[in-house]
Amino acid sequence: MIPALAIILVFQLVGEVATRGLGLVLPGPVLGLMLLVLSCALRPALAQMLRPVVAGILGHLSLFFVPAGVGVVAHLGQFRSDGLAVALALTVSTALAIAAGALVFRAVLRWTGGSEE
């Protein structure tokens, strides 16, 4: 467990240092994500080693979101004044994004001659 956790933290650390050092727009952990995929593709044994710890972390993905979510308490005022605009932007754009993604997938799948699954 500790070696796997250490490796995940190293991916994040390298990601943070590289994005800051190179002035990239990517957040460090996203670069860490790409490094993990690349490393596992190069060394499949690494994936086997990381898998149990990754399963543990991803199984509780929503927990890590709670502290930031509680921050709404500190920002209630801003939501009161912007509530309607924010709600409209969120709901309309989320529905549009789901529809756009699914429709474009189907259109391109048919265009390239792929079969539905």
């Binding site: 956790l5 995940i8 994040q12 990517l26 957040p27 460090g28 952990p29 996203v30 860490g32 994500l33 790409m34 490094l35 993990l36 995929v37 596992c40 593709a41 994936a47 710890v53 990754v54 972390i57 991803l58 993905l61 929503s62 927990l63 890590f64 979101f65 709670v66 502290p67 930031a68 979510g69 509680v70 921050g71 709404v72 308490v73 500190a74 920002h75 801003q78 939501f79 912007d82 605009a85 924010v86 409209l88 932007a89 969120l90 709901t91 754009s93 989320t94 994004a97 789901i98 529809a99 993604g101 699914a102 429709l103 474009v104 997938f105 189907r106 799948l109 390239t112 792929g114 539905e116």
Partner: protein, 238 residues
């Protein structure tokens, strides 16, 4: 009475109390979610946040004090983002087989999510900080917070907007996709993962295994793409 006051003042000085409270609140929220038959409206994060907000309000605790304890949980967002690479790696062969439709759907969903949210927000006169916090709302929480911080947004506002986006997406996905006549499980899952990240992915897994796997891929890929699209789009609307 003095003893109780002494104990309370000890507890408010260390991280133990609010770290414990965060885990218990999430535990209760998750139990409630299961008891309600995993309905998307009974989201465990939302339940935990409401519970903790009530406790903070009742005890007169500031968010800063709370966060000193909760920061250990918050820290895990970074490693969790790295860990999201694993489902992507596990499904690389299926992704390659449907590469073109997936790339097209990713770009369409991701651009639509960012541009339409900013266009509506701008039309209603939202502030720069609010727009920056809104831009990455379809991305998974740890990444959205990172993007918002980089754009000058408010991470805590982003966290709430991401949560609401996920719950809303999870609720409307099935009726919306049925109305559009989309039957391909890859298309259904992937578009939901792109638009509504982890909460959408959890919802997709409840409906269909293939939809769930592709929702996870959509979430991971959109995390990368939004990091690039959000700053560019925000500059257009700025």
């Amino acid at each position: 009475m003095t003893d109780a006051a002494l104990i309370w003042s000890y507890l408010t000085q260390g991280p133990l109390l609010w770290l414990t409270a965060t885990l218990i609140a999430y535990w209760l929220g998750d139990s409630f979610f299961r008891a309600m038959g995993r309905q998307s409206w009974a989201n465990p994060v939302l339940c935990a946040v409401i519970l903790l907000a009530c406790v903070l309000g009742l005890t007169g605790t500031s968010y800063q004090t709370y966060f000193e304890g909760a920061q250990f949980v918050h820290f895990m967002l970074g490693p969790a983002t790295v860990a999201l690479g694993m489902p992507l790696y596990d499904n690389l062969h299926r992704v390659k087989r449907a590469a073109l439709p997936l790339v097209a759907a990713l770009v369409a969903g991701s651009v639509t999510a960012v541009v339409s949210a900013l266009a509506i927000g701008k039309a209603f006169g939202l502030s720069e900080v609010m727009l920056a916090s809104l831009a990455p709302k379809s991305t998974t929480a740890p990444v959205a917070i990172g993007i918002a911080e980089g754009l000058g947004g408010e991470p805590t506002i982003t966290a709430v907007l991401v949560l609401v986006t996920g719950i809303f997406g999870a609720i409307i996905a099935t009726p919306l996709l049925n109305a559009l006549g989309i039957r391909d499980w890859r298309a259904r899952g992937f578009s939901l993962g792109v638009a509504a990240h982890g909460i959408g992915t959890a919802r997709a897994f409840q409906v269909n295994e293939t939809a769930g796997a592709f929702a996870g891929i959509g979430m991971g890929l959109n995390a990368v793409l939004t990091s690039v699209i959000a700053p560019l789009t925000l500059r257009l609307f700025g």
